[in-house]
């Protein structure tokens, strides 16, 4: 029994990898081959799908747009969440507990509920179809997430650290930036990773708030799928490329992912 224990995770990983393999397989095939023959690996191996994405501006701009608003969102979310999380973890003030829970309720709001009002709001203030609009809209669920994660990490740091620093004559901001921020660097990394991730995978709001100039890659894909008919190879290649940023950053936070999902509370 014990000797075959590895089989469970191994089979599970195989199950996870099969659809991804199929996507990669498709991305190296020509459209004719996809529709004409069924094969477990590409018979006429081609890189033309990828070449098209890297040379056609409507495609590669989609990636640039997505990355732009994701980065703006991550920077905004983490930088405003840092002082707030510190306040929640160190101070008592009027309404703190209610505020803390109210923040999280925004993580529970179905994006479909907000799609139309968001469109009207951001059109009204003239930000429609800009990267900033999507970045700000994603703050709705990313700021609460960042506050909760950072608060969890900060509460793990003993208060004596703060008190010692004040006794040593540090001003608040000098202590905060020079000592406290480096101490919870891992927490900041995790919070940034989660903001990056949720902004990267979300599509409904990103699609609603953009038309041409800031169109995310995911929306470019949906349009191709519906208008250009059956360009499945191209679609598969575009999909495969969206996996890369995640796969790249995940290695650095692998031991902290669970802690992040538990909002810093494992």
């Amino acid at each position: 029994m014990k000797a075959y224990k590895w089989a469970v995770p191994a089979l599970y990983i195989v199950f996870l990898m099969l659809p991804i393999y199929w996507l990669l397989n498709m991305s190296f095939k020509t459209t004719n081959e996809i529709l004409g023959t069924f094969s477990l690996w590409p018979q006429e191996f081609t890189l033309s799908n990828y070449a098209k994405i890297f040379t056609d501006p409507t495609w590669y701009n989609g990636y640039l747009n997505s990355i732009t608003y994701v980065v703006i969102n991550t920077v905004i979310s983490v930088s405003v969440a840092l002082p707030a999380a510190y306040a929640f973890s160190r101070y008592r003030f009027l309404g703190d507990k209610h505020l803390f829970f109210w923040l999280l309720t925004n993580r529970m709001a179905p994006p479909a509920v907000f799609a139309l009002p968001f469109f009207q709001l951001y059109s009204a203030i003239g930000l429609f179809d800009t990267h900033l609009a999507v970045a700000l809209a994603h703050c709705l669920f990313n700021i609460p997430l960042a506050v909760w994660i950072l608060e969890g990490f900060m509460s793990g740091v003993p208060k004596e650290l703060d008190e010692t620093a004040y006794l040593d004559g540090y001003s608040f901001w000098r202590f905060f930036l020079r000592i406290f921020v480096p101490t919870i660097a891992a927490g900041i990394g995790v919070a940034a990773f989660f903001c990056f991730m949720y902004s990267w995978v979300e599509l409904l709001l990103a699609k609603t708030l953009t038309s041409v100039a800031a169109k995310p890659i995911a929306a470019t894909m949906t349009r191709t799928a519906s208008t250009a008919g059956y360009e499945l190879g191209l679609l598969a290649a575009a999909g495969a490329l969206t996996i890369i940023p995640g796969a790249f950053v995940i290695y650095f936070v692998r031991h902290y992912i669970a802690k992040g999902f538990a909002l810093g509370r494992v």
């Binding site: 996870l16 069924f38 709705l140």
Partner: protein, 288 residues
Amino acid sequence: MNDRTANPRAWWFVLPVLVLVAFNALIPLMTVVNYSVQETFGDNVFFWEGLKWFEQVLNSDRFHESFLRQLAFTGMILAIEVPLGIAVALSMPRKGPWVSVCLVLMALPLLIPWNVVGAMWNIFALPDIGLLGRMINGMGIDYNFTQQPVAAWLTTVLMDVWHWTSLVVLLAYAGLCSIPDAYYQAAKIDGASAWAVFRYIQLPKMKRVLTIAILLRFMDSFMIYTEPFVLTGGGPGNTTTFLSIDLVKIALGQFDLGPAAAMSLIYFLVVLLVCWIFYTLTMRNESQ
């Protein structure tokens, strides 16, 4: 959040967060409330309708059906993902190079954009060009998720299991890793069975993380939109039209703003209510 000093000026620290989130949450929410009690025929002319839309939505068969569909879907994925996630976490290695391999590969589906997940499963499950579709049909079972309601359901559930079980695995695994070796040694000395170890050591230690996992999976599966929309488009017929898909159809497709807004509020309140009950019960358990 215990052992904190009173400091009213801490509000300044929270202010930027409050402004940004309130801007994004309160203004749209008020817009929704506004629509939910009024009727419009365009040109920004509105008429007061009171609770008419709420009554209409609550009495409509269409809402009942998509609500039940949503409950069934959420129930099904929770019933599969939680036990499966625990089982995988229990048999994962605790140390060595394989830990990183497992963690990275398992976390991969969580970072794929949701429409790509839908598109990927679409080409994976299509009966003519997809690996899964070919395999099932090859076994002599007639399977086509674009035509058969049952197949569409099973494919959607399988896709969600593929997408999100790793969340449960990662959280359960983190809970298991926090159990000191001494506990297992004590159990060994007492001659405890594997089931007893699970029931009295591992499960209690995982309780906290599992609560979070179930809460997250409930919330996110109740809001699911993009993946089934790309995979099945809510079809065949209405068979995989979950709440969010139905809502977007009414709001942006038919542009029935009143009913859509009323439905939004009912929908949001249900999610909030369930999460609040869950949150309170957990907090009560923890303080005991």
